[in-house]
């Protein structure tokens, strides 16, 4: 992290590319992501929502919901037509804990996060647990974003990842 007092810029296309990479990678890797320690292995799959926007507009232009929208022809066609992902709802499993969360917009806001409620008794214990689980989700998303960023910065993005993504969008992958 940096110490910039005015905050780091929020770059819309990076979030859209990150979401697309998550979707693509989850299909390529059988939903398994091997992230560097201390995050470790997580399972990630696209859940019940994908929302798209036009590249020059931050408003949602198309939404796909229901069972497995990632498998629909319309979802892939939206990417092929030039739309970019604005929201992606994903399931994440780490060890025996399962989370469902929508990553939303250029800032990757956490939305409608469902936590695995382990503790149910006592105000204080529940609050501790929920904050701890939120931090765990943030920690995993950070690990995923770092992995995406490392790829995006490397030579392999141009030579391998981007062509593979392109083929996948075309249905050749």
């Amino acid at each position: 992290m940096t110490d910039q007092a005015d905050g780091l810029p929020i770059i819309p296309h990076l979030a859209g590319e990150f979401y697309t990479w998550l979707w693509w990678s989850s299909e390529q890797a059988g939903a398994v992501f091997e992230l560097p320690q201390p995050v470790g292995t997580v399972d990630l799959w696209v859940d019940e929502r994908l929302a798209f926007r036009y590249p020059d507009d931050l408003r949602v232009a198309a939404v796909m919901t229901g069972d497995n929208p990632a498998a629909s022809l319309e979802a892939r066609a939206a990417l092929a037509g030039g739309k970019v992902l604005q929201e992606i709802r994903v399931g994440i499993r780490r060890d025996d804990r399962e989370f469902i969360v929508t990553l939303k917009g250029p800032a990757a806001h956490v939305s409608a996060l469902k936590l695995p409620q382990v503790v149910t008794d006592g105000d204080e214990e529940v609050l501790f647990e929920r904050m701890h689980l939120y931090e765990e989700v943030s920690f995993v998303v950070q690990g995923l974003f770092r992995q995406f960023a490392a790829l995006r910065m490397g030579e392999a993005w141009q030579t391998d990842v981007q062509p593979a993504l392109h083929d996948w969008i075309l249905g050749r992958g």
Binding site: L113, A149, M153, I169, G171
Partner: protein, 213 residues
């Protein structure tokens, strides 16, 4: 629904600034200073805002650390009250009172100054018996981690929260960027320089090959 129960929807911020010496006691006092305070009876037409405990919006005292400080995480809620009077009914009632005032004095017209006074009396009377609309937004601040979350994605709510947070703690909140997840400044600069423009993943020239599902 909020930080205590239900699904979470959170805008995240980075907290910029230094903690004061003896921050627990300092923050307790500042929270008490900026806590929600009920407006006097007959007022409340303007918005009234302040901090409350996350457990119950009627608890607006922060003397007990166990109710708002969990290890190094502050958990609180911003309460905003506003009373709304029914405008059409107010205007009609005011007209009737002005007519009565004229009838009592056998004059044709109620002066503007009197009408203003009658309106003030009427609003005071009605505000005293009107319940406010109440909004409560949960928030948490991880002091060690230097970040805070607000249980809302509304820009307006975020602006209000940031201003109140600054007035209370003297610390600035800046919106979280995914770039904050990177390890250090060189990584941020590297990503920004390698990915200044969107990658061409789809577009008008792309034709989708058949996919049956």
């Amino acid at each position: 629904m909020g930080i205590v129960t239900g699904p979470m929807t959170l805008a995240r911020f980075r907290v910029v600034g230094d903690r004061p010496q003896g921050w627990r006691e300092v923050f307790r006092d500042r929270l008490n200073d900026h806590a929600f305070k009920e407006p006097p009876q007959g007022q409340g037409k303007e918005e009234v805002e302040g901090w409350v405990q996350v457990h119950n919006l009627l608890d607006a005292e922060f003397d007990d650390f166990n109710r708002w400080l969990y290890n190094d995480t502050v958990v609180l809620a911003l309460r905003v009250d506003k009373k709304r009077l029914p405008a059409k009914l107010l205007r009609a009632t005011l007209d009737k009172r002005a007519e009565a005032w004229c009838a009592e004095r056998d004059v044709a017209r109620c002066p503007n100054a009197v009408k203003a006074e009658l309106k003030e009396e009427l609003e005071h009377e009605w505000l005293a018996r009107t319940l406010p609309s109440v909004s409560v937004t949960d928030a948490a601040w991880n002091i060690e981690g230097g970040w805070a979350v607000l249980h809302s994605l509304s820009e307006g709510v975020a602006d209000r929260f940031r201003k109140r947070f600054y007035r209370t703690f003297g610390l600035k909140l800046v919106p979280w960027s995914p770039l904050d997840w990177l390890a250090d400044a060189p990584a941020v600069e590297a990503l920004m320089s390698r990915a200044p423009m969107p990658a061409q993943l789809g577009g008008p020239e792309v034709h989708l090959a058949g996919r049956s599902e």
